[in-house]
């Protein structure tokens, strides 16, 4: 058990040594001549407006939340898949019930439109200028806090 994992740690050690040596070497060789303009944030040549830490759309969070639940489901399926052949039909029906129950949840999420990135397409066409499509840059009024 541990023997198997010990070779993973050996591999990890090789990786850590490689990263450490490269970073140290680069630090010794490379020039260091910082100035304020060079160290400012990149915003296509303009002075950056506000902080880079803006509040973003809730949709990223919804995806993460739904993912947690379906990830747990997938993890339940792994041990089942391994013993499927030896258990037989009971395992098959059992998992079918399990999947169908979760499909109810999936259908609910789908129906509520939480899997759509752009919600309410008709609404979007009516007042296009008010709606920010997330995943692109935030507009200055609602996007930035600072």
């Amino acid at each position: 058990m541990m023997i198997d994992f010990s070779s993973v740690f050996m591999f990890l050690a090789v990786g850590v040594i490689f990263v450490a040596v490269t970073m140290l070497l680069a630090r010794l060789i490379r020039p260091a001549d910082p100035n304020v303009v060079k160290m400012s944030n990149y915003e296509c040549g303009e002075d950056p407006i506000g902080s880079g830490w803006f509040t973003f759309n809730v949709r990223f969070y919804i995806i993460a939340l739904i993912f947690v639940i379906f990830d747990v489901e997938a993890v339940f399926l792994f041990p089942w898949a391994l013993v499927f052949k030896s258990i037989g039909w009971i395992a098959f029906w059992d998992m079918l019930v399990f999947i169908v129950i979760l499909l109810v949840g999936f259908a609910y999420v789908w129906n509520m439109g939480d899997l759509d990135w752009i919600k309410d397409l008709d609404n979007l066409k009516e007042n296009e200028e008010d709606t920010v499509i997330s995943g692109t840059m935030p507009n200055t009024t609602s996007g930035q806090v600072h």
Binding site: F18, V19, G52, W53, D71, A74, V83, L103, W110, L115
Partner: protein, 359 residues
């Protein structure tokens, strides 16, 4: 009792595999540029050494010599940590990939793989999911709007496709009944109707397509390269990065491609298996046996693995210049509304086929 010779063998193997991955990464960057040049009817880098073969070396020297710029407003600690968190998991995932049949040397069994873990493919999922943190943290720590959006997109893209990837793998596990990648490769040598090898692509064609698409999304390759869509997000999560830190992100990405290709080859194309080749040589049904030495068999198997991985690496580059990029809403829709239902369908179909003793 610890067998020091075995430990020494695995240590040497770790170092050799690590160096080989790094070398492959280096030449992959060259291959990417040469092949894209070829596809666009250009020449590509051809000045450093014959056919530009020393270009990766020149690039490496340049990365080390360049000034490292940390933005004033960045979070210094996390800004430094992020590239390390990207490259180390990317390298580590390769540890469970087998590249040959077990060797028997003087009473020792040497696995041609760094670690034959009994969680196998789950280890890949676990370590790969750690790699996403380097990208989120790198995007956040830069304190740059492009970087943050790139990091966020990358993370939500990764999680959207991880489930469908898992579902595709579950189909494979149902057929082969083991988490160990070496066992999965081994079982693919068994014959179907005594003639056709039971490769993953034949028993899981739908699963293969789901897995392939998911893997492209997980490695942020075209057509799923939205996190670094240069036309909208400049460089994505690594916009602010320079010098060696940028190189680590870059190498991490290519190392992920190598592991992804190795996984596709192992799960669906028999890994190191060559059809009809066994420990003692070729055994062809209704024809006879061609005897071979163990070392010759091992070399052929490792070569077969390398060729399969090489083909899929080429496939990654090929797709890049063939398909346009997705829009973000199309991307989430494909992941959640197409691949996940298909993955579940694949599991049910596979289950029924196994119960009916077809596969």
């Amino acid at each position: 009792m610890v067998d020091y010779i075995t430990v020494a063998i695995y240590t040497v193997m770790s170092v050799v595999v690590f160096v080989l991955i790094l070398t492959t990464v280096a030449f992959l960057t060259l291959a990417e540029r040469r092949i894209s040049a070829f596809m666009q009817d250009r020449l590509g880098p051809n000045r450093v050494g014959p056919w530009g073969l020393f270009q990766p070396v020149a690039d490496g020297i340049k990365f080390i010599m360049k000034e490292d710029i940390t933005p004033l407003e960045a979070n210094k600690l996390l800004y430094t940590l992020a590239p390390i968190l990207t490259i180390i998991p990317a390298m580590l995932t390769f540890a469970v990939v087998p590249f040959g049949h077990d060797l028997f040397l003087h009473g020792r069994v040497i696995n041609l793989q760094i670690a034959n873990l009994n969680v196998g493919i789950l280890y890949v999922f676990a370590i790969a999911s750690m790699g996403i943190f380097g990208i989120i943290i790198g995007g956040w720590a830069s304190n740059n709007k492009y970087s943050l959006l790139g990091g966020l997109r990358s993370a939500s893209q990764f999680i959207s496709y991880e489930i469908s990837m898992g579902l595709a793998v579950i189909g494979i596990l149902m057929v082969y009944g083991s988490l160990k990648l070496n066992d999965i490769a081994l079982y693919q040598g068994s014959l179907w109707f005594n003639t056709i090898p039971k490769w993953g692509i034949l028993v899981q064609p739908l699963g293969f397509i789901i897995f392939l698409v998911s893997v492209f999304a997980e490695t942020n390759r075209v057509p799923f390269d939205l996190p670094e869509a240069e036309s909208e997000l400049v460089g994505g999560y690594h916009t602010e990065y320079s010098s060696m830190k940028f190189a680590f992100f870059f190498m991490g990405e290519y190392a992920n491609m190598i592991t992804a290709s190795a996984l596709i080859a192992t799960l669906y194309f028999g890994g190191w298996q060559v059809p009809y080749l066994h420990n003692i040589g070729f055994i062809i049904p209704k024809f006879g046996i061609v005897h071979m030495q163990q070392w010759l068999v091992a070399i052929i198997e490792v070569l077969s693995f390398v060729i399969k991985v090489g083909f899929f690496l080429f496939f990654f580059l090929w797709v890049r210049w063939t398909l346009p990029r997705f829009r973000f809403d199309q991307l989430t829709a494909l992941g959640w509304k197409v691949l996940i239902p298909l993955g579940i369908l694949n599991i049910v179909i596979t289950g029924a086929l196994i119960m009916l003793r077809i596969i």
